[in-house]
Symmetry: C2
Subunit: 464 residues, 2 copies
């Protein structure tokens, strides 16, 4: 018989990971509820036509498709597919229940998604996403609330070195138009510019040319971005007091000014820059401006973004998630378009980083029990059951060895599993109305009155 | 454009259900951890050969199968399938990680499963199961621990009228052999007997005959079960004191006595009855015997049970779940057989019953926010953001209306959503350093100092 195995790219999760995940979920959930976001959960499967065509041609290939059932199974056709992200199901929900939902629909959703990506280190075919979105308003208050909620959630998890980079699709359009990049080359230009950090100025110039964009356009854009980068360099190296004394504006305001200058009277571009200005203004009001970085170079891949684009970066780690405004997505399912904006957090990355940085509360990694009750012999099974039951009623986490067995074997079992205390009810102890309590870490063993065990274990644990 | 819709038999879950479910999960989880059960989560998908053939021919049909990807998609073949229950994935995990797991592996698992059943009222294609199992021991202490943990979990949820019915496959075998039912008709006989309550003695006799079982066998079994039923009737109607004064044994002991008498020297049967006797003895020691009902008629469908079978019944509701011992299942994946026993709870039923009986804590059904901050006009957006942010820092759940709008419309929006308080920061109030706080339920409105809002809302909420 072939040894059964996990499907490629998936994982089983034991106690440690489940507890970490639940800790993160609960923390995030509590913060989102302070912001009046409400939980939503959708089925793992959607009708296949709901998902197809929403993620581009490559996305279509990565969707797990479910065979029709019964007599139709033979056709080899699929009618259902597994959730690929949490955004399209949200759009489906909004289109389906439009009339029952509040005018402004604020929901969070924490569920796994499935993608048939080629498995690789840190890339899985089943992984949790945590999305938070607001539907129904075009106001930048939405962006402000989202950034604020996301900041609060990350801070509550213990992150103190993250930045929310913010840019705007329309500002990008303005910049590219201003640099005379033809509209049908905007995508190419963004892909090339996105590599500036990695391949440098010359590399990007190469990319531009090879993608059929004029050298003049490339030069203009590169100079602008280099200007921004040197601004950042200056602000990073000049102490805050000096900047304040000099009466300078913040880096963000300064970048915004440059951006506005660059797009000039390009109408769409100027509108984008103005929305960025509002976001910054609202961030100051909400006291989260230190978290925000206006970044004219940020260009997120997904084609459905229509306005703001955002990404959460942690110093030395990279992106934990991102999002943006997608005012047209719901319109794909409904004649009525609904403005929308949201963030998506990658849970897997967060778990890895928090584990590396030791950010989980220490009691999460606790032993499977605080005390184990042993079984001396077949005749004393009932005594052991009664004691275990009492200790649990006292709130202790108790394991009960399931069989009469050599006591040394039982100690070893408890010790292997990291259970700190064991209780022994031997015949002698029983006659005296006592039990033996052993601390497996120190080896210390003492007799205590049968009725005091819960108390004694409780006290010993409190000392730890 | 066709309106998108949910796949047949699946559901979207809004805030109410998600909160109820999380409440149940947390409650159950905390109880299981007192018993040293550890959480496990497995992927939604398994390799198709892991699932096929484990649930009978009908089960094979009900498994959702996932198409191969990429160039293999065209073949119409499936290589993966969605989790159908939590038991087979557990068996796969145990076979896969045998050497890394503790000798006694106690795990709980709370995850959705998928079955392509014909959708019907109360029957879904995606639903949560909650399983708790112990692997590695043949001792009846395992059954005792499982019944105790299950009782404690249900009691913690507020159930006080449930019974765990317990029977034994080998006792059933003994009974049927004793009544001269041929071995190949045991299944038929159990199906027929299972209907006694519904179709009565004559109906069951008919079923026996039509299934080719002799009338004499039927008569013998029916007389035995009727004897048990009349015993139950007597015990139910005679006050406990009278039974105690008469020195009678409990109903369970009396039933066990009858059962032992019936199976006589049938070796397998007697072994089964003896295990039932141990379970009862351990239940007395663990003080849960009032929850246990030895029920010789219980015959659960699943063919993989090898010993104890159990079912949890709630007065007037029916089954909330069940389980039993399945010592051979892991052996299907591994040369080594591993004894195992467990319970599976149906979450959907529990939510329905708890909702009908009003068993959820009242604060679960709370409004989406405790207070809503309105936006007076475009110039005051920043003031509103700053206030909302302060109130949240004070721990209040706060909604912020996302746009400047007619104040009446904003009140109506809050009121529709059941938010009790709104805060208004008009120009006049601002000049005076005040805000208006309105209780939307009483209509009462008062001015309070800007800095006292959190306090005032907190106090008003505490009064509710």
């Amino acid at each position: 018989m072939a040894k059964p195995s996990l499907p490629q790219g998936t994982r089983d999760f034991g106690p440690d990971t489940v507890r970490k995940r639940n800790y993160i979920f609960n923390t995030i959930r509590n913060v989102f509820e302070l912001y009046s976001f409400q939980p939503l959960e959708t089925p793992a499967m959607e009708n296949i036509e709901t998902l197809m065509g929403k993620y581009g041609e490559e996305g279509n290939q990565l969707i797990f498709k479910i065979l029709k059932r019964g007599e139709h199974e033979k056709t080899g056709e699929a009618d259902l597919a597994l959730r690929y992200d949490l955004t399209v199901p949200l759009a489906r929900v909004v289109a389906e229940y439009k009339n029952e939902l509040p005018k402004f629909f604020k929901r969070y959703q924490i569920q796994p998604v499935w993608r048939a990506d080629r498995p690789a280190r840190g890339r899985f075919r089943e992984f949790y996403q945590c999305d938070v979105d607001v539907l129904g308003s075009r106001s930048m208050v939405v962006e402000s609330e989202l950034c604020s909620a996301m900041s609060a959630a990350l801070e509550k998890l213990g992150f103190d070195d993250f930045t929310i980079r913010v840019n705007h699709r329309q500002a990008l359009t303005g910049m590219l138009d201003r640099a005379n990049v033809p509209t049908d080359k905007h995508g190419d230009a963004l892909v090339a510019l996105d590599k500036l950090g990695k391949i440098g100025r010359d590399g990007v110039m190469q990319e531009f040319l090879s993608r059929g964009i004029a050298a003049e356009s490339a030069t203009e854009l590169l100079s602008f971005f280099e200007g921004i980068a040197s601004l950042e360099h200056v602000f990073r190296n000049v102490p805050d007091e000096v900047i304040e004394q000099a009466g300078s504006r913040s880096l963000n305001s300064t970048v915004l000014g440059r951006l506005l200058e660059f797009v000039g009277d390009h109408e769409t571009g100027a509108r984008g820059v103005d929305e960025l200005r509002q976001i910054l203004e609202f961030a100051v009001a909400g006291n989260i401006d230190a978290r925000i970085k206006i970044d004219p170079m940020l260009a997120r891949g997904l084609s459905y973004y229509t306005g703001t684009i955002m990404e959460i970066d942690v110093e030395g780690i990279g992106s934990l998630g991102g999002g943006g405004r997608y005012d047209n997505l719901v319109g794909m399912f409904s004649s009525q378009s609904v403005p929308a904006c949201g963030f998506s957090l990658g849970l897997e990355r967060i778990i890895v980083v928090m584990t590396e940085r030791n950010m989980f509360p220490s009691d999460l990694a606790s032993a499977p029990a605080e005390v184990m009750v042993t079984i001396w012999d077949d005749d004393s099974i009932r005594d052991s059951i009664a004691l275990a039951s009492e200790l649990r009623r006292a709130g202790l986490r108790v394991d009960l060895y399931p069989e009469a067995d050599k006591i040394g074997k039982q100690f070893k079992y408890a010790s292997l599993r990291g259970i700190p205390f064991v209780v022994v009810m031997g015949a002698d102890e029983k006659t005296r109305g006592e039990v033996a309590l052993k601390d497996l870490r120190s080896g210390e063993q003492r007799s205590i009155a049968r009725d005091d065990v819960a108390l004694a274990v409780g006290e010993a644990l409190a000392k730890d």
